[in-house]
């Protein structure tokens, strides 16, 4: 949507400079594209450690993906855990999680019914608010910029990218750590009718000028973000831009090299003619990972970044949501050679 009133500020791109995963069985983002390696993240052994004590499961998963993402972006000191080398005051945290604290909430209600409030553990207090995850990540790395938690349904992960870009182009932050996490648990599995991914993903997003100033390697550009009534509306709005787009910018799509979806081929939406997207390849990460909910959009973006690592001039589109949901979100990404 363009405003009749204010000219948009000078164009500021948002670029991805780091990716981290804490997804069962996976080590690196290219495994989202089919690369196979031995081992991979195991929540049974990967969620131990002093730094995770007293933390809720979603926070623990998020912390295990935040550090690798920051390290991948060249923003962690040599010893890894200690120093964030960026400007903490200008670094935002954006978290997407729909069911991150659901199991805590349900189990606390059980404990009260059985033992009264005296049975509750005082350390559980932060877990009654969904933003516990963002708080844990901010505290671990000293990130003192805006801290935003989206619980926005199936589109939530892509919506987190929309807001990360808005925070960056509005000048609220120069860097954003964007985390998607969905822990599994008894209540989550009961509500969804299947286990959740029990994993997390993180992306470091920063302004193009900030990345250039510190010599960071750009892995992808967020070239259009939007939420719309259906697939066509979301893709059309995302092509028009998103926060901070100037009128003169080249519109991304509709043809892309890789389309990351959230459903099997042929079930994108109601049949549309012509289809709003033409893609050389289509990938649905949920086919191998299962229910990813609030983490999905960011897993899609991580897959796009991995794709660009070997196809720097390619473009990608990620979409989440369908006719059964309250909206569809779309995010266009482009490889570093595309935007240079």
């Amino acid at each position: 949507m363009s405003s009749a009133h204010s000219p948009a500020p000078a164009r500021r791109e948002a670029v991805v400079t780091g990716v981290g995963l804490a997804v069962p069985g996976l080590t690196l983002p290219d495994e989202l594209l089919g690369t196979v390696r031995e081992g991979g993240f195991d929540p049974r052994t990967g969620l131990l450690g002093r730094d995770l004590r007293h933390k809720d499961r979603a926070s623990r998963l998020a912390l295990r993906t935040a550090a690798p993402a920051l390290r991948d972006a060249g923003l962690l000191g040599e010893d890894g855990s200690a120093g964030y080398t960026g400007n903490g005051d200008a670094t935002a945290v954006v978290v997407s999680s729909n069911f991150g604290i659901l199991d805590s909430v349900c189990s606390f209600a059980d404990i009260i019914a059985r033992d009264t409030v005296l049975g509750l553990a005082p350390m559980g207090l932060p877990q009654t608010s969904s933003n516990v995850i963002a708080g844990s990540v901010a505290m671990a790395h000293g990130l003192r910029g805006p801290s935003v938690t989206l619980c926005n349904g199936p589109t939530s992960g892509l919506d987190a990218l929309y807001w990360a870009r808005a925070l960056l182009v509005a000048g609220r932050a120069e860097t954003a750590l964007v985390v998607g996490v969905e822990p599994d648990g008894e209540a989550v599995a009961k509500l969804l009718g299947a286990a959740a991914v029990d994993g997390a993903v993180a992306l470091v997003v920063e302004t193009a000028e900030h990345a250039a100033a510190r010599g960071a390697r750009v892995r992808a550009t967020l070239s259009g973000c939007a939420r719309g009534a259906d697939l066509t509306a979301a893709v059309t709005a995302a092509r028009a831009g998103g926060p901070g787009r100037t009128d003169g910018a080249e519109a991304p799509g509709p043809a892309v090299d890789l389309w990351l979806t959230d459903r099997p081929a042929g079930e994108e939406s109601a049949p549309e003619d012509p289809p709003p997207v033409r893609a050389a390849a289509v990938l649905d990460p949920t086919a191998s990972l299962g229910l990813c909910s609030g983490a999905l959009g960011l897993l899609q973006a991580a897959a796009a970044v991995a794709h660009f690592d070997t196809h720097a001039a390619h473009t990608a589109l990620a979409t989440c949501g369908g006719p059964e949901d309250d909206a569809v979100a779309a995010v266009f990404l482009s490889g570093p050679a595309r935007t240079a």
């Binding site: 000219p7 009264t116 805006p146 801290s147 989206l150 349904g153 919506d159 509500l191 719309g228």
Partner: protein, 377 residues
């Protein structure tokens, strides 16, 4: 830079409209009462600032937070003369607990629950055709955060008008865990008084219609000058004076004002000893005695309405600027030492000519937000 507030809606335990709530506050009428549906045997604290709207007294029902959200937005749209078609209008909802109470009723009592009922976009699509909807679970700074992000959308050319709203219904796990953790059992929420024993939750919803510039002749409730937001990154539940001072300085800078320009502060004032001493100490340094702005803390009558509390304070601030009237801090007779130099309104509403108001909201996760509102004249 500024944005016009052209419509407001709100409901809380002390009133069903912004004006109704404001009148109650000025009259010193609080909404504290015994817990309506939770089993008193299970809790130490047995009071809250609840909305009494359940179909069967004593029997809880799911979906109350969503119902109030829609009621507040209905009011705000009607007040602004805005259509109920929000297909192109972003709606930003701030909340602490989302529909957590509905999840508890599903888990404990088998009430129906669909996963898509846990975020508010589903109901907003049904009611208003809205698709640019965002549920921010940003604890008790949620609605001022949403307000900041709404102003950014307008600045970035993403929209001319946005709806910013908040809602929260009390849930057992959140109420119970707070009850477990607080050292004492509060008899009431008594911000900045030596008798303060902690926080008690309240219920409610609030909405505003925010636009770049109101159409000529259209009433404007107030001009939003700036909203700042940050994170302490220090502690998951305790406030940090440095983070609060930093967000206030940033907000003043964005608004291009000095602290001396401010006539009124609507404090976060949650009634916990830690919040009150921290907030009062930071503000005492920022607004040295004597002089300084009038201050009030509406949670002394509404309870802590959680995610919506910041925007509810802002709506009350708009009415205070319009009417030149400031509600008192109910129950404040003996201020804590850190608040001794602050001009907290006591006993009865104060009258004064007011031009600029500051609104504070701080939340779990160390997140802070503040807004500057200017009277529209």
């Amino acid at each position: 830079m500024s944005w016009d507030i052209t419509g407001m809606g709100a409901l809380a335990c002390v009133g069903g409209t912004p004006a109704g709530i404001f009148d109650s506050l000025c009259a010193g009428r609080g909404g504290l009462g015994p817990l309506q549906v939770f089993d008193h045997e299970k809790y130490r604290a047995r009071q809250a600032y609840e909305i009494h709207d359940r179909a069967r007294p004593g029997v809880d029902e799911p979906g109350r937070a969503t119902r109030w959200l829609l009621a507040a937005i209905d009011q705000a749209l009607a007040d602004a003369g805005h259509s109920e078609d929000l297909a192109e209008v972003p709606v930003l909802v701030g909340t602490t607990l989302q529909e957590q109470r509905s999840a508890e009723l599903w888990w404990r009592e088998g009430a129906p629950l669909e996963p898509d009922a846990l975020h508010f976009g589903t109901a907003l699509r049904e009611r208003y055709g809205a698709t640019r909807t965002y549920t921010f679970a940003n604890a008790c700074a949620a609605t001022l955060y949403a307000l900041a992000m709404g102003t950014d959308l307008i600045e970035l050319g993403e929209a001319d008008t946005v709806v910013v709203a908040g809602t929260d219904a009390i849930g057992e796990s959140a109420f119970g865990t707070l009850d477990r953790v607080q050292n004492d059992v509060p008899e009431a929420l008594r911000p900045f008084d030596r008798s303060h024993r902690g926080m008690l939750m309240g219920e409610g919803a609030v909405a505003v219609v925010l636009t770049r510039e109101a159409a000529p002749g259209r009433r404007v409730h107030g001009r939003l000058r700036a909203v700042g937001m940050n994170c302490d990154a220090q502690h998951s539940t305790a406030p940090d004076p440095e983070g609060i001072a930093r967000v206030l300085r940033e907000t003043h800078r964005r608004a291009e004002i000095d602290p001396a320009d401010i006539d009124l502060v609507l404090l976060h004032g949650s009634g916990t000893p830690k919040n009150d001493s921290t907030e009062a100490a930071v503000l005492s340094r920022m607004f040295p005695a004597p002089g300084g702005p009038l201050m009030t803390a509406i949670k002394s009558m509404t309870g802590h309405t959680l995610g919506g509390s910041g925007l509810l304070s802002l709506a009350m601030g708009a009415l205070a600027l319009q009417r030149g009237q400031v509600p008192p801090v109910l129950g404040l007779t003996d201020p804590i030492e850190e608040a001794a130099g602050l001009r907290l309104v006591r006993e009865e509403a104060a009258t004064a000519e007011l031009g600029l108001a500051q609104i504070d909201a701080f939340g779990f996760g160390g997140i802070n937000a503040a807004a500057i509102l200017e009277a529209a004249r």
